[in-house]
Subunit: 150 residues, 2 copies
DNA sequence: CCTTGAGTTGAAGTTCGCTTCAAGTCGGAG
DNA sequence: CTCCGACTTGAAGCGAACTTCAACTCAAGG
């Protein structure tokens, strides 16, 4: 017991992420595992921190592809230090600030529109195409998780 | 020119929403059109306001199905008044507040973790499963639109 | 009347972030 | 050694919100 590595089930239990999701992350290159003689995955404990970073980043609204890029920027060769992780976290900070700012603006504008009841496409700042809240092209819309327990 | 109704192309131009999306909204029952003798859609000007409400609601993070339900609650028979629209907008206000609050909490927690560099699954409030920021089951994750112009 | 751009349809495709399935293998307890 | 649960794979499915396509019709100007 208390082995140096984790099975996929153990990592799933400890991280709260389903095994199928962990395999998916591996396919995308977000996490890594060594294999036993029988081809089963074994995870180093540092992978726990990677998974934590992934889930936190998702809540910030970052796509898995961008998370992968961020993780790739970690120093290779040595185990990342707390400072390394802190640097990555700092990178999301601006995103989060910007998203909070935009939502705050949306709220203020919505309040204004509640006052006037206009919902005018032309005049309402809510619907200004130049505004960065506008959607960007095809594919699914990226939204925030709705509050409500799993 | 200056007809009482709009073609789908005109509604698309004025609302900034693609014709294919407008047809999709119609299939879902979010907007309505009358047909010409040649089976083409003609939109009343009030549909402009419906489309505006749809897009604004999406930015608040509401699904099309929920938007449909909200629109269904508009008085049938008469054209909705500014007050009617204001009532709908008010309904989203709490959602928006809650999302802003959760993002603010995430930011504060992230700041704390930047300080300690922990990213610990166990100790970090960022990764508390009981927290309402947690994802809820299968399907795509709902996130905020990333800032970046369309 | 002819042409051309705008409109029509249903079906299928796209993206993201996964889950589910089937059919088979591994590994540790007894 | 047997058993059973945990693991393996690739392929397919899902859900939201659309877009794209093909084949066709409509409507308005010249």
């Amino acid at each position: 017991m208390h082995e140096a590595t984790l099975t996929i089930g153990q990592l799933a239990d400890r991280s709260g992420v389903a095994p199928s999701a962990l395999r998916y992350y591996e396919r995308l290159g977000l996490i890594h595992a060594v294999r036993t003689g029988g081809n089963q995955r074994r995870y180093a404990r540092t992978e726990l921190r990677r998974v934590a970073f992934i889930r936190i980043s998702q809540q910030v609204g970052v796509s898995l592809e961008e998370i992968r890029a961020a993780l790739d920027s970690l120093p290779s060769g040595r185990t990342p230090t707390p400072d390394d992780w802190a640097a990555l976290s700092r990178a999301w900070r601006d995103r989060l600030d910007e998203r909070i700012r935009l939502l705050g603006k949306l709220r203020d504008d919505l309040d204004g529109c509640i006052g006037c009841g206009c919902l005018s496409l032309q005049r309402c700042t809510l619907y200004n195409p130049g505004d960065s809240l506008a959607a960007e092209g095809p594919g699914p819309r990226l939204m925030l998780p709705r509050p409500g327990q799993g």
